[in-house]
């Protein structure tokens, strides 16, 4: 029995819902292509705003994947807590992209996850780099002055869709009521909800 339990992996393991592992689940009528079109209409400037754990990074990763498929060169960086500067290699690569811009048919895209943390000087550097040469899409917990691309928020229906996807191939030990209850307890933070569901799944599996 223990071997069977060991063989069943917890579908809510952190690595499974990391932004680069999961595709963003759009509401009906929305898609990555539609979002790219909005970005194009805004002259390739946009911000994705939303509270903690609402899927901003996941949406950004999905958007960049769609842009790449459409032939757009993309370069992205995720800023950690307290990181107020852009890494040297990112800036260097961005400058290369700007210099090569005329040789590619599509507008190259820069993406900064956690933009609100950047210091003024690096925001200025980024702005100058992007002016007329590169597109810029950012994520932030509050508006930062770029055209609004998307406002992420998680409701119980969306959370359940995410859980269904994660739980596919595993015993369905977590149901919609569990998801709704924990999502409400965490104020709409899906990431913390998934961490809770990790423990719930493990407890129910052991029973």
């Amino acid at each position: 029995m223990n071997e069977l339990v060991e063989a069943i992996r917890n579908p809510f393991s952190a690595a499974r819902f990391a932004p680069d592992r999961m595709e963003f689940l759009f509401a009906p009528g929305q898609s990555a292509a539609g979002l790219l079109e909005r970005l194009r209409a805004a002259d390739w400037r946009g911000e994705i705003v939303g509270p903690h754990g609402s899927g901003k990074s996941t949406l950004l990763a999905t958007l960049l994947a769609a842009a790449r498929l459409a032939g757009q060169p993309c370069l992205a960086v995720t800023l950690r807590y307290g990181q107020r500067r852009l890494p040297c290699d990112f800036l260097g690569a961005a400058r290369c992209m700007a210099a090569q811009k005329d040789r590619v048919p599509a507008v190259p895209l820069l993406a900064v996850d956690g933009y609100e943390q950047l210091g003024r000087w690096h925001r200025f550097l980024l702005g100058r780099l992007c002016r007329r040469r590169l597109g810029l899409v950012v994520t932030s917990h509050h508006p930062v002055g770029l055209p609004a691309l998307c406002h992420t928020a998680v409701d119980p229906a969306l959370a359940w869709r995410v859980v269904e996807r994660l739980q596919a191939g595993s015993p369905p030990l977590v149901d919609g009521a569990d998801v709704a209850e924990r999502l409400a307890a965490h104020g709409g933070n899906l990431r913390e909800t998934l961490f809770d569901l990790y423990d719930l799944f493990a407890r129910r599996l052991a029973m």
């Binding site: 992996r9 917890n10 393991s13 952190a14 690595a15 990391a18 961490f195 990790y198 423990d199």
Partner: protein
């Protein structure tokens, strides 16, 4: 046409291995004809799962490159063998798991990649083989 896939087979039928024991097996590619294989990498590694970010470390790594632009022969099984280390052992904790596997990654044309892995357990030596100190 079938999707190409990597088949990995370990020589020993036992699911659990022990430190110092030899882990050996072979891998080959299926249904990859017509799609030249530029390189194949095989690694014996461990990684973590659970509520933390994934940690990963490679114990043994092999790489084969095609020569002369002809591609590697996918039908030919390739063998691998390594001696397993003492740590870290496989572990199923509450918020951390440590898992061992053999992972094979094939680099195809046009930037495509195939990945497959075969898990195994690295357990500690049975108690009776080592006499712990009693003080």
């Amino acid at each position: 046409m079938n999707e190409p896939a990597i088949l990995i087979r370990l020589d020993s039928p036992a699911r659990t291995y022990y430190p110092g024991q030899s882990l050996s097996g072979q891998y080959r590619l299926e249904s990859a004809e017509g799609d030249p294989i530029r390189a194949v990498e095989a690694s014996v590694l461990w990684y973590t799962e659970g509520k933390g970010e994934q940690d990963l470390a490679v114990h043994e790594f092999w790489r084969r490159d095609s020569q002369g632009g002809e591609g590697l022969d996918p039908r030919r099984p390739e063998r691998f063998s390594t001696t397993l280390p003492i740590s870290p052992l496989s572990y199923d904790g509450q918020i951390i798991q440590v898992r061992w596997c053999v992972r094979v990654r094939a680099f195809l044309s046009r930037g495509r990649e195939l990945v497959a892995e075969k898990g195994f357990r690295l357990g500690d030596r049975p108690q009776q083989e080592v006499s712990p100190p009693e003080k």
